[in-house]
Amino acid sequence: MRPEDVETVRVLVHARSGVVIDPGKTYQIETRLAPVARRAGFASLPDLVQAIRLQRDEKLMWAATEALTSGETCFFRDRAPFAQFREEILPELAAKRGERPIRVWSAACAAGQEPYSLAMIIDDERSKLPGARVELFGSDISERALEKAQSGLYTQFEVQRGLPIRLLVRHFEKVDEMWGLKARIRQMVRWRRINLLADLRGLGQFDVIFCRNVISGFDEPTRRRVLDQLARALPSDGRLVLGFDETVSGLTETLAPVPGRRGVYAPTAARIAA
């Protein structure tokens, strides 16, 4: 790809999703865009970029954005945040909320491994939390990713990264060469296409938001904006879970780390006052 083509794509993806693409990773950009070009019937990548530049075709621009922002993930990624959800966050909220629903949002969940990991935890813990009602939401910017998530179908490779074998046996069934989540787990998650750059006020409040390894892809103003919006969606005892390498420090006054809980943040008085 020529540098000016890379630049066209970078500007497009940033405007649509807030994600900053490293211009040095030409190879990765090409690998991800090649299937988009092929599906849309272009003979080459320059043809695709040319069409984006001249025709501003919405469908094409979104397809390119989705292809370049989709992330790799796995079940129970990093383990610790899920252990904390199981052992602390969920039982504490269940005790406080009683029969009022606990709302959990997995934001930018790609192909759904994160919300399904949470669903399996909730299902496994159900007997210990009598009366608790949990509403689980998964969202992503990519329609394609959400379609895959909703299908609940994963390859044999995908179900062997992060998923303990006992959970595979309990919650999945074999569907030809793939592994499919059983309906009981699949039906626990409600899906919605959400761009975190949009105004999120209409979504309501969430007691727990998982938004892991997402903001690190954004530039600083976008990180601030997204974090402030997520903080506004949390009640005063709500929890935001970020990726291990992500932080709110220097970005917002509305969230503060929960001591001793790596990656877990709570809204501050500043947010509550606002």
């Binding site: 490779f157 062997q160 046996v169």
Partner: protein, 123 residues
Amino acid sequence: MPRTCLVVDDSRVVRKVARRILESLDFEIAEAGDGMEALAFCRAAMPDAVLLDWAMPVMDGLEFVRRLRQEPGGEAPVVVFCTSENEPARIAEALEDGADEYIMKPFDGDILEAKLTEAGLVT
């Protein structure tokens, strides 16, 4: 002290692949070509972990793990199946009969490391 892993598979190629990955994870490796050989090894010196194929001549993996669990000290090793058998009912049987984790072939370094982490052998 490095932990030991006994790799049990009737394919020398698979044993070699597994050995390379496990050595990179700081395990000391021993090899056996079937369940009987593996059981003899365990009676002499219990390993910390066993990576275990299912279908093998002489004694298969399921028979091995059943017998291992009845040996003195035989409850200690972490047993991870590594086999092309991928029927859920068969996997459940292996877990009931004493396996700790389970890898469906084909596998690679990422999967092996993830599964050993799951079994508490790699941190």
